[in-house]
């Protein structure tokens, strides 16, 4: 992923199997959120591709790259540029939360979650306006309350989202992302600003929703105990390059990772 002269992501290759919880870690500025943005279509990738369940959902092909690089039966598949807008990516089953919480501030908590159901609604404008989709609407509302119940926010359902304390806002963001019925969930620092106990609860919650919704989860985090606790595998980024990959145990012992985070001993 290249922005002008700055290479934000250099040869990042990740593979996530269904049902896994994979963590992407690295010092600040390493390019983790950029990776999320590239996957979800906020920035079309300049070079590389994203494949979801066998189908390409994003692909960047710099000018001049020879097409004969990929020969054989898959030739056409990897040589066409494709960049989908974030809403199309979400429709394909990838949902995300934001590092610096982007809730619909002036709307109620309930509405925040309800809006996320809109994308899967089948009714058109006129049908919706004239109330012909009553069943769909009821289902959407019911499911929204259920989701709120699950993140423990049903008692503040009618509060303005802006009025919630920080921790609850994070929960709301996750509930909202879940409402879009994703297969892959991208969580950007879900435990940011939380104390150890809350972090522990967040870890349990993430494992819980993976079971309940059969999700695959990719998580960016700085709380190492949370990362080591729940991840199946970890990728480590530093200055846009991938410096390590492996299980939590392997990563903890990896000297390059330690150097990146703690600095090299002189």
């Amino acid at each position: 992923m290249q922005f002008g002269g700055v290479v934000a992501l250099n040869n990042l290759t990740m593979r996530i199997d269904p049902g896994e919880i994979v963590a992407l870690i690295g010092p600040n500025g390493a390019g983790k959120t950029t990776a999320f943005n590239a996957i979800t279509g906020v920035y079309p990738p300049t070079n590389g591709f994203v494949e979801l369940e066998g189908k390409i959902i994003q692909q960047g092909f710099p000018k001049g790259k020879m097409k004969r690089l990929y020969a054989g039966e898959n030739a056409g598949k990897y040589t066409k540029s494709l960049s989908l807008t974030p809403d199309r990516i979400t429709k394909k089953g990838v949902a995300r939360t934001f590092q610096n919480i982007r809730l619909f501030k002036n709307l109620t908590v309930f509405e925040n979650v309800l809006i996320a159901h809109h994308t899967n609604m089948k009714a058109g404008v006129f049908q919706a306006a004239f109330g012909m989709n009553r069943k769909e609407e009821e289902d959407m509302r019911k499911r929204s309350w259920e989701l709120l119940e699950m993140v423990d926010l049903s008692d503040v359902g009618l509060e303005k989202a802006d009025n919630l304390p920080y921790g609850k806002q994070r929960h709301l963001e996750i509930a909202r992302a879940l409402a879009t019925k994703p297969r892959l969930l991208l969580l950007d620092e879900p435990a940011a600003g939380m104390n150890p106990q809350e972090t522990q609860e967040m870890g349990d919650f993430i494992r819980d929703i993976r079971e309940r919704f059969s999700l695959t989860i990719l998580i960016i985090e700085h709380h190492m105990n949370l990362v080591m606790d729940i991840s199946d595998r970890i990728y480590v980024l530093d200055f846009g390059r991938q410096i390590a990959e492996g299980t939590p145990a392997e990563i903890q012992k990896n000297p390059e990772v330690i150097a990146a985070y703690l600095g090299v001993e002189q």
């Binding site: 979800t40 906020v42 807008t85 974030p86 809403d87 199309r88 979400t90 429709k91 949902a95 995300r96 934001f98 982007r102 809730l103 619909f104 501030k105 002036n106 709307l107 109620t108 309930f110 509405e111 309800l114 809006i115 996320a116 159901h117 809109h118 994308t119 899967n120 609604m121 009714a123 404008v125 919706a128 306006a129 004239f130 109330g131 989709n133 609407e137 959407m140 509302r141 019911k142 309350w145 259920e146 119940e149 699950m150 049903s154 359902g157 009618l158 303005k160 909202r176 992302a177 409402a179 879009t180 309940r212």
Partner: protein, 417 residues
């Protein structure tokens, strides 16, 4: 605590009552038209402007798109309606300079088989349709622009429409800069003796306003309306939640422009003669004023704003225009034009004290009034904040996704609030 619970049906019956009273009042005014010409005229104008205000609010207040193109769409609607509804007998008199274009005369002759009311409705709808088509196509490049640039682009469109309409090339269709006259008014002209001439001059715009505003309210309360609000709050987040920005912005833009154009047609019928000059940017600003005073994001605010502003400008403040002599001493300041000074002062007062408009972003609700009265009576400390119109209260605690073990306490259903 002995608190009465506000049931939904109280609101329904109250609204019905108000509607009937309003209808009765309008009916009475119609019958006594001759004595209350001024009132009738101001009410008609208010009704037309409330429709435009609501549709502008849909775009600016609910979807957050800063669009200044209303005058252009109104012009499209006004001219289409005028061109199609000027009676065939008067056409040549109107197009006195160059004569009307033959194909247009042909179209009008074919259309003259329709009875007049039907012709008018047809003309309004065609005007709306044309505006919608324009909106759809301009939307494609323009709606990707961010707020200020969108404002400039739509402003430009509005001026282009006006220039095209007054261009000499279109003289034989739009009568260029000479304007169109002899546009039929709201009242029926030929009713075969069943209704008096001029009947319906209040009720017709009233029903027009009722239906168009009702449609917009239905859209706003639907899932699409929520999507619009999401776009207003945070575009990036809305997109991440699967809301296609271009499609939804276009939807809001097209709906708004269709309704604005139809209101433009109604304005033509109100003014009876129109010229392109009337549809300059100033008209857009007038409507923006109404929307802001009423409250961005409040439909009832827009309607209220339309009535308040129109009544103030055209009626109440007339008092300030005529010189007044008290006991031989002429009161200073009172002369033609002074009412605009007073109007401006009132405007500043509203903006200072009702920073978010008269209604803010909340809607009128009987329940809200009921609570306000109760709060005043009980002297409870209130925070001055928005009244969020409460949606359906949470249902009785939904069946948990993982069932409770048997023996857990059951919770009863909650009362309707």
């Amino acid at each position: 605590m002995n608190q009465t619970v506000w049931k939904k049906r109280y609101s329904f019956y109250l609204s019905l009552l108000v509607l009937l009273v309003a209808l009765g009042l309008l009916f009475w005014l119609e019958v006594n038209k001759s004595n209350y010409g001024m009132a009738v005229s101001v009410i008609q104008k208010s009704l037309v402007f409330s429709v435009v205000a609501v549709s502008m609010n849909l775009l600016n207040g609910f979807t957050g798109m800063f669009s200044l193109g209303q005058a252009g769409f109104m012009a499209i609607g006004a001219y289409t309606t005028a061109i199609l509804t000027i009676p065939l007998s008067r056409v040549d008199g109107v197009y006195y300079m160059k004569g009307v274009a033959p194909w247009l005369k042909g179209v009008k002759t074919t259309l003259s088989v329709l009875p007049e009311p039907l012709l008018i409705v047809f003309a309004l709808l065609i005007g709306g349709m044309i505006a919608g088509i324009f909106a759809f196509f301009i939307g494609i490049p323009v709606l990707r622009l961010k707020s200020d640039y969108l404002a400039i682009a739509t402003l430009g469109f509005s001026e282009i429409v006006r220039a095209v309409i007054s261009s000499p090339q279109l003289d034989r269709v739009t009568n260029g800069s000479y304007g169109l006259k002899n546009i039929p008014g709201f009242g029926v002209t030929q009713a075969g003796g069943v209704l008096p001439v001029g009947a319906g001059s209040l009720l017709i715009p009233f029903f027009f306003a009722l239906t168009t505003i009702a449609f917009i309210v239905l859209v706003i309360n639907s899932s699409y309306g929520r999507a619009f609000k999401a776009i207003r709050e945070d575009e990036v987040a809305a997109e991440a939640m699967g809301i296609n920005l271009l499609k939804h912005k276009q939807l809001a833009f097209v709906i708004s422009s269709v309704i604005t154009a139809m209101a433009g047609g109604m304005l033509a019928m109100y003014m009876r003669s129109i010229e392109a000059r009337a549809f300059s940017v100033t008209l857009t600003y007038d409507i923006l004023l109404i929307v802001v005073i009423g409250g961005l994001g409040s439909v009832s605010g827009s309607v209220l704003g339309a009535f308040v502003v129109t009544f103030a400008k055209d009626w109440f403040l007339r008092f300030f225009d005529s010189p007044l002599v008290i006991g031989g001493f002429q009161v200073p300041f009172l002369r033609m034009g002074f009412r605009m000074v007073v109007f401006s002062i009132l405007l500043m007062i509203v903006v200072l004290f009702y920073r978010r408009g008269l209604m803010g972003s909340s809607e009128f609700s009987w329940k809200g009034i009921f609570r306000w009265i109760r709060r005043k009576k009980e002297g409870v400390e209130t925070t001055k904040g928005e009244m969020i119109d409460y949606p359906d209260p949470p249902p009785a605690k939904p069946a948990p996704l993982i069932p409770d073990p048997p023996g857990a306490p059951q919770e009863g259903g909650r009362d309707e609030r």
